[in-house]
């Protein structure tokens, strides 16, 4: 690990100033420390925000206000989340291990880096790690990679389960800017697609800090999180679906679907939802939904299996929802 200066922030402003000066914040550290050990990330200054007073979950406009330092364990176990947003509890519990969930925070989970093995391997080229160096993943071994939202410069996958559930719930990220103002930003505006600048992953400006995630009023409906992975536990998603579905007599009244394991960011395609609304669930509709979702997919060699998994997961999710 490269040497670095460590400071503990006593207030947000200290952290923001350090960020503005090029520092890196650390909260749970479960991803950052790993990357620092491998020298994939080599921050000169690390600012510890883990003790900032951002760790409560409170009722907010009929929804929930989740402080950025709430741990994944505490969020998954929160009784309001378990009752009103079960898809979020399920997604959190489907991710990582008990030890990691105790350290990982809500804000840190959003900002975790891709697990693309080429990003981790400093002996290979990676535009995310070293801008302009090329992408060894394209033409390399592909499995935990994206098929939607990718570019010729990057096929990295956003690995979070939590963020997929947040996307389906229309959660917003609360950001405080250096001047002290706070605003809410939807996840699709928060995450940038790679394009020609895959090293820029979010729309955060220097000095911006995530203070919370805000969930809107619960909408009811049947919620589920389904995740396919290479082993039964403690593995990243090959494909996952977060769903909130209202159905009656086999017909979909309302539906929201977000996908993990396929997108450069937590993936949602409202065209698919619009197409299914008011329709009766049958094999034809499921096929059509999958085809529409994947109409822009780039199935590089080694990733073709994800198309099959998407169709199958859609099938089980929709079939169960109308039963």
């Amino acid at each position: 690990m490269k040497p670095f200066d460590y400071t503990r922030a006593d207030d947000l402003q200290t952290a923001q100033r350090a960020l503005h000066e090029g520092g890196t914040v650390i909260a749970g550290g479960t991803n950052l420390i790993d990357l620092m050990k491998l020298e994939v990330m080599t921050p000169g200054a690390v600012v510890d925000i883990s003790r900032l007073d951002l760790n409560d979950i409170r009722d907010h406009d009929g929804g929930l206000y989740i402080g950025a330092m709430v741990t994944n364990s505490d969020l998954a176990a929160d009784l309001r989340v378990r009752r009103d947003y079960p898809v979020l509890s399920r997604a959190l519990l489907a991710g990582a291990s008990g030890q990691l969930r105790n350290k990982a925070t809500t804000g840190g989970n959003l900002l975790q880096r891709t697990r693309c093995p080429y990003f981790y391997d400093r002996d290979t080229s990676c535009n995310k790690r070293t801008p302009g160096s090329g992408c060894a993943a394209i033409g390399g071994e592909l499995r935990n990679h994206a098929i939607l939202g990718t570019s010729d410069d990057c096929v990295a996958l956003h690995p979070s389960d939590m963020a997929v559930a947040l996307r389906v719930l229309d959660a917003q990220v609360e950001i405080e800017s250096l001047d002290g103002t706070r605003h809410l930003r939807p996840l699709d505006d928060f995450y940038r697609l790679p394009g020609t600048t895959p090293h820029i992953e979010t729309s955060l400006e220097p000095g911006d800090i995530i203070t919370a995630v805000v969930l809107p009023k619960p909408t009811g409906g049947q919620q589920s999180y389904r995740k396919i992975r290479d082993r039964a536990s403690y593995a990243f998603a090959l494909v996952s679906i977060a769903s909130v579905i209202n159905a009656r007599d086999g017909k979909i009244e309302n539906i929201a679907l977000a996908f993990g394991g396929i997108g450069a960011r937590p993936w949602r395609d409202t065209r698919v939802e619009d197409m299914m609304r008011g329709q009766t669930v049958d094999d034809q509709l499921i096929q059509k939904a999958g085809d529409l979702l994947l109409s822009d997919a780039r199935l590089l060699e080694g990733l073709e299996f994800k198309a099959d998994l998407v169709h199958r997961l859609l099938s089980s999710t929709l079939t169960e929802a109308v039963q």
């Binding site: 040497p3 550290g29 420390i33 790993d34 690390v46 079960p86 105790n102």
Partner: protein, 174 residues
Amino acid sequence: MNTNLTVNGRPHALDLDTRVTLLDALRDQLKLTGSKKGCDHGQCGACTVLVNGQRINACLSLAVMHDGDEITTVEGLSSDGRSPLQAAFVRHDGMQCGYCTPGQLCSATAVLDEIARGWPSHVSADLEGPVELTREELAERMSGNICRCSCYPGISKAILSVAEDGTVHREAAE
């Protein structure tokens, strides 16, 4: 950097390089070598310790971030190495080489506490109902601890036996 840690009830004042992980501070500075370094990347769980009562991977945490924290390592689970879980691991052959055992023990100690608090898991059928510690629940909850000797049957039996009757007789270890 000056850092105060309370480890197994004893206070320690350390002067640490910022890069030192909690695991290295415990092993190299405090000579508490029970906590093991396996993968050093949070994947194997051999370094699991309790921080303020919660299990974490000590290899993925900077020691300087734990100023003022209370840490329990395997050495602190009991004064004589025979906590109910430790005795049950001996009784049910919950180890072969033993390298992962300190992490398994710390993790299992926390799992029993998490169950008592009603935390659901990925395999819990009902998010809001009471949690019953089945074999399937245990496998899911212990998935952050790997045993390369594959002593999972013994590890499971040991933890389940403690969960079932609350205590294991001390004689069992002999």
